[in-house]
């Protein structure tokens, strides 16, 4: 399959009062056409900021691109002008966000917010765009779509607002949908509905998806492949099946171990010891080393190699075993 999105050696630098700090360090991920990749990590691991970099929405005063490339359909996004990037954003790469409650403009009708997206990229009449907006609301399973167009966001529930966000994102039939924790803020039953909807729409539209989450249960549900990040570095990538069955990075193993299991008779939740390094701490070459049960001196000194566990499964660890990839 053709690679749609390719991020190579991406480095994102945060500018804080205490000086610059690397937020994302040499990240490389790829998403093929029609494929669903889950980007997994704790809060602060750099997954959301990576999504914003792909969209061209980085808060420039706070975060800048330090190096690397982002290619979409063979075009180097970081080399495009602001105008050219705007033609891609929304149109060919669309994004939905974590907070459906605050992600819609409170003083604008739902219909107008969908139409705005359509008319930003296509020359269609207002009437045609409105008709299309109603269809989109029907596509995301909102009842009485024609009536809902006139509603304001506060008249909808959280789940419905996220459906509206999805309708906006899909308005221009994007090739890639970036979903940044789209279900985290919703209650569990609604979460399941939204996930099912996203999975259905992704297959219907043959759309690629970059799904950002910290929830491994969601990953199993929605993704073909998974990329696990720790503190701005990639830990492990591979097909969901392989990574879940044979996790090779100590961090992934730790994460999978943390998932509560109803059948296991444990009294306590398992946790990975330690915590994410604070902003003032200096970082080890392998960011996970201070919390890793296998860490030794090499982990603190030398950045981890990329190790091929199998043809579709790569791990970034000195102790992963397997064959190192140059």
């Amino acid at each position: 399959m053709n690679t749609l999105l390719s991020v190579r050696d991406l480095e994102l630098v945060g500018h804080t009062a205490s000086g610059p700090r690397t937020l994302v360090d040499g990240l490389s991920i790829a998403v093929s056409e029609g494929e669903s990749l889950a980007l997994v990590g704790e809060s602060g691991s750099g997954k959301s900021i990576t999504a914003l970099a792909i969209m061209g929405l980085l808060p420039e005063a706070e975060v800048t691109v330090g190096g690397g490339r982002i290619e979409f359909s063979g075009e180097s996004l970081l080399d495009l002008s602001a105008l050219e990037r705007r033609r891609i954003a929304g149109n060919r790469i669309a994004m939905i966000f974590q907070e459906p409650m605050t992600s819609l403009n409170p003083v604008m009708r739902i219909g107008d917010q969908i139409v705005e997206m359509i008319r930003a990229h296509e020359r269609v009449s207002l009437r045609a765009a409105m008709a299309r907006a109603a269809e989109l609301l029907a596509d995301v399973r909102i009842p009485e779509p024609a009536m809902r167009l006139r509603a304001y966001p506060h008249q909808l529930s959280g789940g419905q607002r996220q459906r509206v966000m999805i309708a906006i994102a899909l308005a221009c039939r994007p090739k890639l949908l970036i979903a940044d924790e789209p279900t985290t803020a919703l209650d569990v039953t609604v979460q399941a509905q939204i996930l099912a909807l996203l999975r259905d729409l992704q297959q219907e539209l043959a759309m690629a998806m970059l799904f950002i989450t910290h929830d491994l249960g969601v990953v199993a549900n929605i993704a073909d492949r998974v990329a696990i990040m720790y503190c701005g570095q990639l830990a492990e990538t591979g097909s969901v099946k392989e990574v879940f069955r044979t996790p090779s990075h100590p961090y992934t193993r730790g994460l999978l171990h943390c998932v509560p299991n109803a059948s296991a008779e444990l009294d306590e939740l398992v946790a990975i010891p330690g915590q994410l390094p604070s902003a003032s701490e200096s970082l080890a070459a392998c960011r996970f080393a201070p919390r890793c049960p296998l860490a030794d001196t090499i982990c603190h000194r030398t950045p981890p190699p990329t190790v091929a566990v199998s043809a579709v499964h790569f791990c970034h660890c000195h102790h992963a075993g397997g064959v190192a990839v140059p």
Binding site: A89, G90, N105, V107, A120, I168
Partner: protein
């Protein structure tokens, strides 16, 4: 909506009643006797005493208050002691100047304050933003009369471009061109208030700019100007509009000073002169009308707010 209006206007009554009582009592706390002021330095104590009886000032305060109140309820604000004409007539006379002055001032405040605040926010941190912010800090901190005097000095006395004082009615000779008499006073009056609106617009635009829905708008790939106008400004306006109520209220009291500096025949100057003359009926009547106006402005702002923000329901 109609029920809301009726209820809100009904709520004016207790406020007006309380205000009428306070006005009535407070002017009488100021030392000075209207009868003595009217008759001048040469008056004999007997003459003053006779006039006081004639004006009903010898009766108890409670009786005086109730008599005045019952007249007011019937729409009679009484007669001016000094001019010997109905107070209502005097107010209507001054209203043209005051209303036009207020309108022109609001035009400057809205027409200047909002766009400048928007530009400052859009270019935050730039030299333009910093000089605009510096200018608005300066304008907000200097008193209206000082700005007024300097405007007179520069544009009337030195350059001779605009008249320094007075205001002939636009309905008389000269017509609409007479509005130029209000140019300097309205600018003086607008300066500190526009500065406040600039600061407020800038601050709330910057606040809104961090909102999630602005990120959503930017993710749509729409033009940045559209993001600013339709998403940021529209929401920032909610904060600014609620400040308009305060601004208008401030205008009423600042107009008193401005009308005096520019010798404008408005309601504000009339209040000042009537206080000096201890012309009780005029002071009472005018201030009561100002209180009513203030309440009406606040109601209008609330309605405007509900119209701008669909989340607010008027019930």
């Amino acid at each position: 909506m109609l029920r809301y209006l009726i209820r809100r206007i009904g709520a004016f009554l207790p406020t007006l009643l309380a205000a009428s009582f306070l006005i009535f009592v407070f002017i009488r706390l100021i030392p000075g006797d209207p009868a003595a002021v009217m008759l001048g330095d040469q008056a004999t104590p007997e003459a003053i005493e006779a006039l006081r009886v004639e004006m009903g000032l010898e009766e108890s305060l409670a009786v005086q208050y109730l008599r005045w109140l019952s007249d007011v309820v019937r729409g009679d604000l009484g007669d001016s002691i000094f001019f010997q004409v109905p107070v209502l007539e005097l107010i209507v006379d001054g209203l043209e100047t005051s209303v036009l002055l207020a309108l022109m001032t609001m035009v400057w405040i809205v027409g200047f304050g909002l766009p400048v605040g928007m530009v400052a926010a859009a270019r935050r941190g730039s030299w333009l933003d910093q000089s605009l912010s510096g200018m608005s800090m300066f304008l907000a901190s200097v008193p209206t009369f000082w700005v007024g005097l300097y405007l007179i000095l520069i544009f009337a006395a030195i350059l001779g471009w605009l008249p320094s004082s007075g205001y002939p009615s636009i309905f008389g000779e000269g017509g609409l061109a007479n509005l130029r008499y209000l140019l300097l006073p309205s600018i003086a009056l607008a300066a500190p208030n526009a500065a406040l609106i600039i600061r407020l617009t800038r601050a709330s635009m910057l606040d809104v700019y961090r909102e999630d829905y602005v990120r959503t708008a930017r993710a749509k790939g729409i033009h940045p100007l559209r993001v600013i106008v339709r998403h940021v400004f529209r929401n920032a306006l909610l904060t600014v509009v609620s400040a308009f109520g305060f601004t208008l209220a401030a205008l009423i009291s600042e107009a008193v000073v401005t009308e005096t500096v520019f010798s404008l025949p408005g309601v504000g100057r009339m209040v000042v002169q009537s206080i000096l003359r201890r012309d009780y009926p005029v002071i009472q009547g005018t201030i009561l009308m100002i209180v009513l106006l203030y309440l009406a402005i606040n109601l209008a702002v609330d309605i405007l707010y509900a119209w701008l923000d669909p989340r607010v329901k008027l019930r």
